[in-house]
């Protein structure tokens, strides 16, 4: 897998963005940009080429699911792989995310190995 890929982390908690950045660094991904919610993420996606989005589910302004729907509805962005991060794997949430076109999801807490596996499944 190309470790030079540019990844976008979307989470309203600065600490969680740092945690995910730290995990990505452990598995070799250092080309990472961040956004604090879905609407800021859309601006980032419009301004630069992003290879994969890692987004939290629960966020103010625009949730992860709303961001996913906006990405899939945008002609330029719709093919961007999207990994959803959730605090709990509620069946109804998983179904909604799959319907909206999520590439995969990961439940907190997770290890660096689990994140690596998810990325390999999506990008491999």
């Amino acid at each position: 897998m190309d470790k030079g890929l540019k990844l976008l982390i979307v989470d309203d908690f600065a600490t969680m963005r740092k945690v995910i950045r730290n995990i990505l660094k452990q598995i070799g991904y250092e080309n990472v940009v961040e956004a604090e919610d879905g609407s800021i993420a859309l601006r980032v996606l419009k301004s630069q080429k992003i290879d994969l989005i890692i987004s939290d589910w629960n966020m103010p302004n625009m949730t992860g699911l709303e961001l996913l729907k906006a990405v899939r509805a945008d002609e330029e962005l719709k093919a961007t792989p999207f990994l959803m991060v959730t605090a709990e794997a509620l069946q109804e949430n998983v179904v909604a995310a799959v319907k909206a076109g999520v590439s995969n999801y990961i439940v907190k807490p997770f290890t660096a190995e689990a994140m690596n596996e998810k990325l390999q499944k999506i990008l491999g």
Binding site: T15, V19, A87, E88, A89, P109
Partner: protein
């Protein structure tokens, strides 16, 4: 208190600390706490409703939380600053999420509110129900922390 709660929070706490901070917590014997005083320097508190209602607090000693957050962020932390408090909130959220997942598999569907963080030596923890809580003490190589649970089943037991 229903032993399923104790087991779920015990397992949830261990999973979160091992996975996110590479720290091995060693649980001690649970005991009943009758006052509001916290046993550590910083606490995350979260309200729970649904099949069970009440609250959960995660209270860390300073030495323990500084190591936990340093490991989580990959940056050395030397004081209980904003980053550390945010991380305590996120850890509380994750422990609650992990425990709720285990409770769900036992047929107990519980939802959680947004966590709040309180800090300072001798700070107090006010549980939603106001009654006595169960403390599960944990020891780590970097100092102790405590899971403080005050929950009742929605049917009152």
């Amino acid at each position: 208190m229903d032993v399923r709660f104790i087991n779920a929070f015990l397992a949830g706490t261990t999973d979160v600390l091992q996975m996110m901070a590479f720290v091995e917590p060693r649980p001690g014997k649970a005991f009943l706490k009758k006052d509001n005083a916290a046993k550590g320097d910083v606490s995350g508190v979260i309200g729970l409703t649904g099949a069970a209602r009440g609250s959960l607090a995660l209270t860390f000693s300073e030495s323990c939380i500084l190591k936990v957050v340093s490991n989580m962020l990959g940056e050395e932390q030397t004081s209980i600053n904003g980053d550390v408090k945010d991380a305590v909130g996120e850890l509380t959220n994750m422990v609650s999420g992990s425990a709720r997942k285990k409770l769900e598999s036992e047929g107990l569907s519980v939802t959680a509110a947004i966590p709040t963080v309180v800090s300072g030596g001798g700070h107090s923890i006010r549980h939603v129900l106001g009654g006595p809580s169960i403390i599960i003490p944990f020891e780590t190589d970097y100092g102790p922390f405590f899971v403080d649970v005050c929950l009742i089943l929605a049917n009152g037991s």
